[in-house]
Symmetry: D2
Subunit: 286 residues, 4 copies
């Protein structure tokens, strides 16, 4: 599937500030960047970098006091995903046989205090018979029990809070999903990216759970089609994968995010209850 | 400096359980393992693994219900460290010029909610003129304001709690130190290892702050000599670097940790106030 | 119904300490103290007091360093309660018509942060059609979703924690019940007292909700018969009604609590699901 | 001293709602209401009430959906206070000899979790030699270490949060002061009222600590003169003494609060450091 993604962010800088952006589509075996462009206006020196063992791409720059700048990114991206049939049949992989790179996603993180939610997760979802059913129940539970309210939370909000306050935005929904998966010893990671026809236009966050050797997608917000995603990054949680980090006094004055498809025949993937179809982008490790 | 390290851990297993141990000394350019042995008794299948881009070494094993086993590790390790003179003179490295692998240590983590402690850190330590002075003041403040009380905290305790409760063990002291550094935009990471003549005998935790291109050691507990450490792992915090993780119902029934030196002439490194000497193991990245 | 209650508490005092005990049965129109005795051995000066507008009885005393003392209380108490038929039919009383003394029990307190649980309470219980059904559902939900585990919590634990951690003792069950009621604008208060045949022997805590002009009893622990209670105090929560408060360094070395009945024909009140019978001690304010 | 106080609050009501207002000056032996008037426009039925053992005055009313109403209160009030000389000399009253009505102010409450702050309070302020010095140090510490920022907190914020976040408004400053006093076993209570020349105009909150038989005033915000206060209520904390409580969907659309004095010769009471003068309104209980 081919997508056109676009983001434009403007900042007013009140004191010399460093920015770390993470807005570029990742380039992987299952996500091909056909063409892309990055523009910073007025032009500022910047450095691109990636972290070892990661597909995420970062841009670092310094803007001096008084600067007003805009960063614009656009790309044409081809993604590939596979539909998993009968996801309930995916086998449970013993922790001892998990791929080593998956192990860190078992542990709690800044916004996903899975260690504190074990009792809750076991009581609500532990009785279910397979891992896919558990994660689907978690995602459904969040959808039905949490209100999507813009502005209800901030960057300090974490799964522990959301579980009680029952309101938040996509990152909060994702954090809660991840925390509940890990509380059941199911590896889970945070996803940020572009999402087709997101309303209102914005970056999106959801999560992937590691089931039967696949990173399977779940979106407790139900706002977008799971086959309409373009990955920027995955990470332990939003603390590692903010689209923009600032060090200094600055404010975002404008933001425009878009994701459209050139494929007129795009069919949104809508999981049919009981049918057990699921989506994964990354090829199975098995 | 040459150290003999030893750890012996016994477990009673009440239900089939998976263990992930992280008790072996890391092998790096500045820490040489002369000889080592690992014994699991009775013998259980185990897998050793490391994570990409990490020197930490892990052992994974499954123990069945009813098992009673002991894992014993011993090693002879040669470490090298450098003493930094006039640490106050170490330059501050702009975030934009930080080595990319250091960047993740700027962000909050499970037990180090630096994002919540910014005001506190700036008010208490922000006025100090250089990064070494700031981190030293943080370490001293923790020493003077926090009681070392075994059993006062548990694995769910984090820096936010410790800042108020003012009590804990070495991991809590380290977490608070890390959180306060990151709150001042100074990269900091968690250290676990063996420590010479630790009383009572146990693994130890302290922290490293990234100052002037060096990972400089700080120990707010003041329980051990900074040049008497053997590294097991560094990480964002204890959530990533527990010496033992269990998945299943088990209990630790015995624990014996030792660290001695064969060097009769070992001189403990004792920072003299105002003199500004500091210790770093890892060679400077500059 | 006639009960014999007994409590014996021993303390070792490590530094001069003040104690405030709240272990005596309250004396009200519906709870008659036939006879009672209080013994402090060795004899210490003490003062009895009550607070204005309260039936609770307190004993204050000072014990010097090195003292080892025992306080023993016993009483024979006659209680009266009424069984409310068809509790689902109890009318909802508008806040504007609540008796003024009931109003404070609408507000959050130290251990019952009802202001933080509004969304949760409305989502889980808000759809129910009458106040009795709501509170019964709250009490049942706590029983089914929270594990009674001695030692799992401490005096700092509150409803917010218990809602997530899903474990605690009777005071934690009561706090959660109270917080959820208040979150639905139903006045609720904390009850401490003696309970018939409590196993293991201890003081007990449960809660009363104000429904249709009655203070109706609920016990989410289901450990005791609701008509087998002898009231010590009601209050906003345990912060106001600890059976013993200490100011100084002391430890409780022995504790023996008993509650028996002389009525051979005692019939425990067991609410039959769907039947709608409930229990209230205090005569209706209407 | 004679003050003219005025408050005007307007509400738009989106669903039938109950209001409980607590905006009237309390009438006590040390605060005399010369004349006052209350106007609700358009006229709504309302009930005035007080709670037993309290001087606070409440107004309850119901406003139907679609109502837009304004409540206006004005009064002329004469207050009397006494200046305590050499407050450092005020004796410490043993808990065992405290007036019984003061005892509840030793315990933690919703927003003042003194039980969690004991270590902190003892470490920071415990070394001081007398109770007045301790409370003055607490009040000064809050002033110097907390930023007064409108909108930084909400009604769910409590002392535990403020101690770390180091920002808030007058209620947050007061809650932290109260919590730290109680953590040192010094009774403390919350004060709400009108304050002379408050800028920007609003209700004010500060706190009273019980020292040597006097309820002594402290204001960690330093925004107003301590002899320029008109009491609405004192209470355990803001959970008991909100100026307005709503039950229903409503929003405050306008607010105008004023407090002026007719005494041209008003001399603001400014505590001179080291001089030890303090202010109390309520006559000593001794």
């Amino acid at each position: 599937m081919k997508f056109n993604i676009f983001s434009e962010l403007s900042y007013e800088v009140f004191s010399d500030a460093t920015f770390i952006f993470n807005i570029q589509a990742s380039s992987t075996s299952y996500q091909h960047i056909i063409e892309e462009s990055l523009l910073i206006s007025p032009l500022l020196n910047f450095r691109e970098f990636t972290l070892a063992n990661s597909d995420s791409r970062y841009i670092r720059l310094v803007a001096n006091q008084g600067t007003f700048f805009t960063i614009t990114y656009q790309a044409s991206v081809e993604t590939q995903y596979s539909v998993i049939q009968e996801a309930e049949s995916l086998p449970s992989i013993p922790i001892c046989q998990l791929d080593t790179e998956v192990v860190p996603y078992l542990f709690p993180s800044r916004h996903c205090q899975s260690d504190k939610l074990r009792k809750f997760a076991i009581k609500e979802f532990g009785f279910l018979s397979n891992e896919y059913a558990k994660v689907l129940a978690i995602s459904d539970w969040i959808f039905y029990n949490t209100d999507y309210i813009t502005g209800a939370t901030d960057s300090g909000t974490s799964a522990y809070d959301t579980l009680i306050q029952r309101e938040g935005v996509c990152k909060d929904f994702a954090h809660l999903g991840i925390a509940l998966c890990r509380a059941l010893d199911i590896p889970a990671r945070y996803f940020t990216g572009y999402a087709l026809n997101m309303v209102p236009p914005d970056f999106h966050a959801c999560f992937e759970a590691y089931i039967g050797g696949h990173w399977v997608f779940f979106d407790p917000t139900r706002l977008v089609a799971l086959n309409g995603l373009v990955k920027i990054a995955h990470s332990k949680d939003a603390a590692d994968a903010a689209v923009a980090n600032f060090f200094g006094n600055t404010t975002c004055t404008y933001m425009n995010i878009q994701c459209t498809t050139a494929n007129a025949d795009f069919q949104p993937f809508i999981p049919v209850p009981g049918k057990g179809e699921a989506i994964s982008y990354e090829p199975s490790l098995f």
